[in-house]
Structure formats: structure tokens, C-alpha cells
């Protein structure tokens, strides 16, 4: 049973180009049907977007760890989910478990980038959208929203779950909250053997596909060039 935050490697059979499978976080798992939500970024996702019903893809998974639920000593904390762009794909499964017991901050360049916004709004206890052009929610970034939200409040009252661009995660880390983030790194194998997906942490490189993709946000060393 795949858990929120886990991912699958998705490949196009019968092709040598693209060669490698691509990682996608599980977006939905219902009635034996796995769904992924993805943005067309390059060669692989472009071909995927042209697939029609009946076409076959190869998948490998579920892989990686998952978002720890707010249990044990963290039970009393308020889950604060922060999604940037397609990061929502990874956080929605978590939101479906947490439901009203959560705050969801969703940032993007503009309204069109905020996919599944209605589902998120409907599920979350509190929902704030942020767009750079103000076309939806407040004008600004998800980080701006979180900064406002926690101002003057006890940081220990929150448990952060973040998924989005590295820049966003780095800024969120600067806010001093406890919590987790899901990391995206280029992956070749997804199964821990290639060491291609190294994430720098305070205790050395860790594999995003095996020790991650979910990391303690305060252990990650952001140094993307």
C-alpha cells in the first residue's frame, strides 16, 4: 500500500530514448488505480502527455520513505502543508489523510499553476493560496504566507510538510519550524544502487530515492547551484 510521499519510477516501454524511468510522487490511489499528476518538463513528460488510453507504461514502486504522520510527541502540533507548484501532487495524498486537521498553503506563479485547488480547498482545515501575480489568493509567495502565519505564534505549534522548488524549501528552512520536506533530485534507478540522487544533509549525502524523498527539513543542506 503506497503511502503519502512515496514515489514510482515511470517508464515508456519499447524505447531507448528516453532511456531512464522518471520519478513521480503518487498522486492518488483508489480502486486499484494509481494516478500521477505531472507537469510537462522535457522529453519524457512530453511523450507521456501524448499517451492515450490503452497505451502501456512501466512502473516500479512504491519507492522511498513517506511523510511521517504527526504522531507521538508531534500529535499536538498543527500540520502545516506548504506546496509550491507541482509539489501539490505529493502533498495531496497526505492532506487526504489529515483533512480538516491541517493548514494548507499553496503557492504558484499564477492561478493557472494552482492545480487541484478546489480539492485542496475542500479538504484542508485552513487554506491560503498565494500567487506572484495575485491572480489567486494573496499576492506573494508561499513562504511569505507562512512567514505571516507564524508571526507571533509558537513555532512548536506547527509541523511543517513542504514540497516544491528547492528555493522555496530553503527559505522555509530559514523560518525555524520543525518538519519535513520532499526532495527532488535527478534519479537514474530509484532503487538505491546508482547513488545519483544524493541529497546533502548534516550527516552526509543521503539517497533521495531510499533514505528520502522525505527528509527532516532541518537536516538538509541546500546548496543547489
Amino acid at each position: 500500500m503506497p503511502m503519502p510521499g512515496q514515489f514510482f519510477m515511470v517508464g515508456l516501454p519499447g524505447r531507448l530514448d528516453p532511456l531512464l524511468k522518471r520519478p513521480f510522487g503518487l498522486f492518488r490511489h483508489e480502486d486499484g488505480l494509481l494516478s500521477f499528476m505531472y507537469r510537462v518538463r522535457g522529453k519524457g513528460t512530453l511523450i507521456m502527455s501524448g499517451l492515450v488510453p490503452g497505451d502501456t507504461v512501466e512502473i516500479l514502486g512504491p519507492l522511498g520513505n513517506h511523510y511521517p504522520l504527526p504522531e507521538g510527541k508531534y500529535r499536538i502540533r498543527k500540520p502545516l502543508l506548504v506546496a509550491g507548484g507541482t509539489g501539490v501532487a505529493s502533498l495531496l495524498p497526505l492532506l487526504r489523510e489529515l483533512k480538516k486537521n491541517s493548514i494548507f498553503v499553496y503557492g504558484g506563479r499564477n492561478r493557472d499553476e494552482l492545480l487541484c485547488i478546489d480539492e485542496v480547498r475542500g479538504l484542508a482545515g485552513e487554506f491560503i493560496a498565494a500567487t506572484q501575480d495575485g491572480s489567486e489568493g494573496v499576492r506573494g509567495t508561499a513562504v511569505d504566507v507562512v512567514t505571516d502565519l507564524i508571526r507571533g505564534r509558537d513555532k512548536d505549534g506547527f509541523l511543517l510538510y513542504a514540497c516544491g522548488p528547492a528555493g522555496m524549501l530553503k527559505s522555509l528552512q530559514g523560518l525555524g519550524l520543525q518538519g519535513y520536506c520532499a526532495m527532488e533530485e535527478n534519479m537514474a534507478c530509484g532503487t538505491g544502487v546508482c547513488l545519483g540522487c544524493a541529497v546533502k544533509t548534516s550527516t552526509g549525502y543521503k539517497r533521495a530515492c531510499t533514505e528520502g524523498p522525505v527528509f527532516d527539513i532541518n537536516e538538509v543542506v541546500f546548496e543547489r547551484f
Binding site: G11, L19, E185, N186, M187, A198, G204, R224
Partner: protein, 311 residues
């Protein structure tokens, strides 16, 4: 004819008899344990584990990999746990998998190679693959692989001290001419040569104007390099009598057969295992299928069996 009626056994020197010619390629099966959930490692001829250095190496910053046309570039930078942890933690687990274990080693000096090899002999590995062809570390490694003099010295030094495990020398595609390196390896007593390691390569993102590998240069692997590897294996196998192990873009049984026809006694499967974790077993099954289809009972009948004359 069932698989078991076929004779797929090959010898890597006198030291290392393998029940079949298919191995993993170093750096693509971790320390062995990682692949056990996808296939039974004992089915393979041997497991070649991730390269090991004297001390632990952190590896290179990311991005470490990027895809290219029918291939990929990696610059892992030989991230590894180091000799001590390898022997204590990784090797016992790997040995328990039931397949012969070949360690892949890299040092900054001939002395370092010898030190590692000695410790591994003591710890009980079946073979040692000398990586003198890694394009992703600054010192050592490829420095030996491209300079015939230090190459020869290195193998002499290692050979003098090691008598148990088979010694395999992993050649660089850039060795010029590769036959000379292979011959030197043979003369210094290596049990086999393996080739090719990845080909130095680069990729650039025109938008950001940055290299797509943080380390700028990396090593190209996968189907794109198969024709290059095939030629070098063919040339090399003509130059030596010790077994040649073919590596480069092998994905199917037919790919492996091509290398064997070109002169390889055995093959290693690398990048293909990233696409399909059970690729080495599929290659093995493909070889068996080919032999059954063609009515070939003994794999040795195929080694170097390329037909080049007029018919």
C-alpha cells in the same frame, strides 16, 4: 532443451570459474544486497560491487546524473563507505547472497591499490577488479588507465602481493592504443581485462548556460556507447589470450551475444539495471534463449565467433 542442459560456464582465469557469463557492472548494483529484492543474485555469474577506496569518499555534489540521447552521464565521484566499513558491513552481506563476489577498487597510488587488494584477499573476495578508468575522480584511477607506464607498474605491484582472488583490470575507452594496455595487463599476470568503463562526456543546459553535471565532466554509459565498446572489445580480444569481459550498453541477451561473438568471455550489465532492476537476469535468460534457438549447447562455441570472411 532446458536452461540446465546448456553449458554457460566460463572461466575468468584459473581462479574464477563462473556458472554463467553474466555479471553486474560496478556501481550499478550497490553492494549486492540492494538487488536481492528484484532477483536472486545467485543466478548470476558474479556480482561486481560498487568501487571501494581506502577511506570513505563523500562523492560529488548534485546533479550527479543526466540523461543524453540513448545514454546517461554520471559523476557520482566514487561515493563509497571505504575499505573498513566495506569489509565489516557490506562484504559479509554480499557473500551471503550466494554469488561469487568481485570487488571493484580504486586508489590514489599503487600502494593504495595494493593495500586495499591485500585486505580484500584476506577478507575473502573471489575477484578484484582494478578500476583504473573512472573519469570521475581527480587523482588516481584514470591516471593509471591512460599512462602505460604507471599502468604496468600498478598491475605488477598488485599481482606480486595477491594470489587468491582473480585480478581483473578494467580498461578505459581512452587508453591509446587499448591493445597495448591489455597486453601489459596480461604480461603482468592479470587474470582478465574488462572494458569499457564510461566515456568522458558532458551535457549543457542552453537556458541556464550551466553544465547538467555539477562536476562538468562525467562518464557516458548505456546503449549509446555499445558500438564503441563492441569495437574495443573486438580489438582487445584479438590482442590477448586472457579472458575479456565486455561492458557497455548491454541490455538484452542479443547485446550480450554480440559482445561474446566479438570476443568477450563474459559480460557486465550496468545502466540497463537502472531501467529494469532485473536486467542482468533478463540478459542471462536472453542468452539461454538464443542458444536454444540456434541449437548451441556450450557458450564457449560462441566466444569470438564473429564471421568476417566472404561466404
Amino acid at each position: 532443451m532446458s536452461g540446465s542442459e546448456l553449458n554457460l560456464s566460463v572461466n575468468i582465469g584459473q581462479k574464477l570459474p563462473l556458472k554463467n557469463p553474466v555479471m553486474t557492472a560496478s556501481g550499478t548494483c550497490g553492494y549486492g544486497a540492494e538487488v536481492a529484492r528484484f532477483y536472486e543474485p545467485a543466478r548470476l555469474g558474479a556480482l561486481v560491487l560498487k568501487g571501494i577506496s581506502l577511506t570513505p569518499w563523500p562523492g560529488n555534489p548534485c546533479p550527479r546524473i543526466t540523461e543524453t540521447a540513448c545514454g546517461m552521464i554520471n559523476s557520482i565521484g566514487l561515493q563509497n563507505v571505504g575499505l573498513k566499513a566495506f569489509i565489516k558491513e557490506k562484504l559479509p552481506v554480499a557473500k551471503a547472497l550466494g554469488s561469487p563476489i568481485i570487488a571493484n577498487i580504486l586508489g590514489g597510488s599503487a600502494g593504495e591499490y595494493v593495500k586495499i587488494a591485500r585486505a580484500l584477499e584476506e577478507a575473502g573476495v573471489d575477484g578484484i577488479e582494478l578500476n583504473v578508468s573512472c573519469p570521475n575522480v581527480k587523482k588516481g584511477g584514470i591516471a593509471f588507465g591512460l599512462d602505460l607506464k604507471s599502468f604496468t607498474k600498478l598491475i605488477k605491484a598488485v599481482r606480486k602481493d595477491i594470489s587468491g582472488p582473480a585480478i581483473i583490470v578494467k580498461l578505459s575507452p581512452g587508453a591509446q592504443p587499448i591493445e597495448a594496455f591489455a597486453r601489459a595487463a596480461q604480461e603482468e599476470g592479470a587474470d582478465a581485462v574488462s572494458l569499457i568503463n564510461t566515456v568522458p562526456a558532458m551535457a549543457i543546459d542552453a537556458d541556464s548556460r550551466r553544465p547538467l553535471i555539477r562536476n562538468i565532466v562525467g562518464g557516458l554509459s548505456g546503449p549509446a556507447i555499445k558500438p564503441i565498446a563492441l569495437w574495443l572489445v573486438y580489438k582487445t580480444s584479438k590482442a590477448v589470450t586472457i579472458p575479456v569481459i565486455g561492458i557497455g550498453g548491454i541490455r538484452t541477451g542479443r547485446d550480450a551475444i554480440e559482445f561474446i561473438l566479438a570476443g568477450a568471455s563474459a559480460v557486465q550489465v550496468g545502466t540497463a539495471s537502472f531501467v529494469d532492476p532485473a536486467a542482468p537476469v533478463r540478459v542471462l535468460e536472453g542468452i539461454e534463449g538464443y542458444m536454444r534457438e540456434k541449437g548451441i549447447k556450450d557458450i564457449s562455441a560462441l566466444v569470438g565467433g564473429l564471421v568476417t570472411g566472404c561466404s
